[in-house]
């Protein structure tokens, strides 16, 4: 299948801005991440809070450009684009944030907030009103609500409006950063069904970020597990769900609720399931660097080479 997004060795370092400090305490939020996202699929990114999921997503969107590495969107390196060209590319990729309350301007009616994007991309003026109606219909918001303000909607409705606004750019690629984790179970299901319908209707590609393993295993085609800024395991969803290998993946999976057990998996130093000869899951030296090794059929695991 054709690749839509290719990430090559993405690094994102946050520099400490202390004036006099001699000590270097740069924080590496994303550490050498390479991923491919295929067209019209859902790529799930899981990990605990603080592991760099959102930073990676913001890097992909070029909201916080990565410190180093390449992002290819449809074969084109985004970093090489001029500001104007980047703006064009931006409309092809959109992001939906976790908290719709902070994503919608409380002082703008839904109409104005939807119109803003359309005006910016020079949508024909006389068609804007019908387009807004169409988009709201698409996400199941009655177009008679168009003059209301965000606070008049429930959490689920607000998230629908945010999705409608993202779709107004007619994107090919959507980053969904924990889009349902603030919502109740019954509302969650509504939004997930909506996202899957939209994906089929407009052949969208999703990067779905979540800490909810059950949810990711339900809707993604491929999964990458992130830990401390690095991808430690990636494979097709079914493969990784049936046979997780990396000790952190196992720990994360054992912690997912609904398994009728409250035991957490902790690997010891002798654990080496699925490893090829000459590698280990645990850093032999403090500064050893993690390698992502393909062990067949697109299943990759992060491990360290044993030298000598």
């Amino acid at each position: 299948m054709e690749k839509l997004i290719e990430l090559k060795n993405i690094n994102k370092v946050f520099k400490s801005h202390k004036l006099i400090s001699v000590k270097k305490d740069d924080f590496v939020a994303v550490d050498n991440v390479s991923l491919d996202i295929k067209k019209n699929t859902v790529f799930g990114l899981v990990g605990e809070s603080g592991c760099g999921k959102t930073t990676l997503a913001r890097s992909v969107m070029f909201l916080d450009p990565p410190t180093s590495g390449e992002i290819l969107f449809d074969g084109k390196d985004i970093a090489s684009l001029s500001g104007k060209e980047l703006k064009l590319y931006r409309s092809r990729m959109q992001i939906v944030f976790q908290d719709p309350n902070s994503a919608l301007n409380p002082k703008m009616s839904i109409y104005r907030c939807m119109k803003e994007g359309l005006v910016n991309r020079r949508y024909p003026k006389d068609k804007i009103d019908t387009r807004i109606k169409e988009l709201l219909d698409l996400v199941g918001i009655s177009s008679s609500y168009v003059n209301r303000y965000p606070h008049e909607f429930s959490g689920g409705q607000k998230q629908r409006i945010v999705i409608a606004r993202a779709l107004s750019m007619e994107p090919e690629f959507l980053v969904l950063d924990e889009p349902v984790s603030n919502l109740d179970v019954s509302i969650q299901a509504q939004i997930i069904n909506l996202l899957l319908d939209l994906k089929d209707e407009f052949s969208l590609t999703y990067l779905f970020i979540s800490h909810d393993l059950n949810l990711v295993s339900y809707l993604s085609d491929e999964v990458a597990v992130m830990y401390k800024g690095q991808v430690v395991e990636t494979a097709e969803t079914e493969k990784i769900m049936k046979g997780p290998l990396h000790p952190y993946t196992l720990k994360l999976f054992s912690s997912a609720p609904g398994k009728n057990s409250v035991e957490l998996f902790e690997a010891d130093e002798s654990y080496r399931e699925g490893l090829p000869e000459g590698y280990t899951y645990f850093p032999p030296e403090p500064d050893s660097s993690l390698q992502l090794i393909d062990i067949g059929e697109g299943h990759s695991i992060g491990c360290y080479a044993l030298n000598g």
Binding site: Q188, I192, L252, S255, P257, G258, V262, L264
Partner: protein
């Protein structure tokens, strides 16, 4: 004076259940009245985990704060009901007597530990405060006991932890401190209001594990409040499902998961995504939880229910016992529907 308080420890508790009967609570705001709880009954036995599950706005937290006696009245008004501990109705007690029970017989763990710990006090002082006040211990004795409790909640580092301020601890550690404070006086009952919602999954599991082991060790009854059915599945003995201020179904965990009877419970189970449902559409429940200010007449669930008929609009269903204390409140228990 500490000496005067010392005899409190001698009081033996004979209470083995905490019972909430027909609790009805409203919030009054000007002319408006929001009926948050509309007749909640549940009983909690010692060394049992009873979970109360529901969506936001269904009345879970009102129930827990009401049991703790932390509900501000006004704006809240308790219209009817009893909360029985041992042989007394907590709702009839004076605030002074209530304070004796709160923290000692019934303790509580909140959702966000960071909000409920005092940022200006060392955590050691926050734990010993309880022991000194409720059990009449001397300071040195209380510190020793606090160290034992820290051990019990799995915090290594003893004295150093007691001397730290809440901001110096991580989220998981803070939640452990909250639990340490809650169990410091050996309460008979612990109310845990979404204790793991603010935590990461791996931490969540550790905290659940800790709560279960403490329950067995200290012979506590836990009222576990959550919106997450999967978490509830892992730890509960008994589960009650709450919707719009009423318990719609209550059963043992095995029964509830194997054979849910109320349409709301069934739909909730089917709307949870997991790997087995891949490729299928998720079941959804149309609409949203009603506001406490305008709860629909009859069965509150009828506007969202796939099997609602005329009677559901006009009359509120009785809570029926389906055998083995499995109860459900629906006019058409067991009726099937097509999606």
């Amino acid at each position: 004076m500490p000496k005067k308080r010392a005899d409190k420890r001698a009081v033996k508790r004979a209470d083995s259940t905490l019972e909430i009967r027909d609790l009805n609570v409203s919030f009054i705001q000007g002319e408006k009245e929001a009926n948050a709880l509309r007749g909640i009954s549940l009983s909690l036995k010692r060394s049992e985990v009873h979970s109360l599950v529901g969506e936001s706005g269904s009345g879970k937290t009102v129930t827990s704060t009401c049991v703790m006696g932390l509900l501000p009245t006004p704006p809240a008004r308790i219209n009817a009901g009893e909360i029985i501990l041992g042989d007394q109705d907590l709702l009839l007690l004076e605030e002074k007597d209530r304070r004796e029970i709160r923290g000692k017989d019934i303790a509580m763990v909140f959702q966000e530990p960071a909000r409920y710990l005092n940022p200006t006090l060392k955590v050691g002082d926050q734990i010993t405060e309880m022991l000194i006040l409720h059990l009449g211990m001397e300071k040195t004795e209380a510190v020793e006991r606090a160290l034992e409790i820290l051990d019990l909640v799995g915090l290594k580092g003893g004295k150093r932890i007691l001397d730290s301020y809440p901001h110096e601890l991580s989220g998981g550690m803070k939640q452990r401190i909250m639990i340490a404070i809650a169990i410091s006086c050996n309460p008979s009952f612990l109310i845990a209001d979404e204790p793991t919602t603010a935590l990461d999954v791996t931490l969540q599991l550790q905290i659940l594990n800790l709560m279960l082991s403490l329950k067995n060790r200290l012979d506590m009854g836990i009222l576990f409040i959550s919106h997450d059915l999967r978490v509830v599945h892992d730890i509960s003995d008994w589960i009650s499902v709450i919707y719009a201020g009423r318990i719609v179904e209550s059963a043992s965990r095995e029964t509830l998961f194997a054979d849910p009877k109320h349409p709301y419970t069934k739909l909730l189970f089917e709307s949870i995504p997991d790997a087995d449902k891949r490729g299928k559409r998720l079941q959804t429940i149309p609409g949203k939880v009603p506001d406490a200010e305008n709860i629909p007449g009859g069965c509150a669930f009828h506007p969202r229910c796939p099997i609602a008929e005329e009677i559901c609009r006009t009359s509120q269903p009785e809570t029926k016992n389906l055998g083995g204390n499995h109860t459900a409140a629906c006019h058409f228990i067991g009726k099937q529907w097509k999606n």
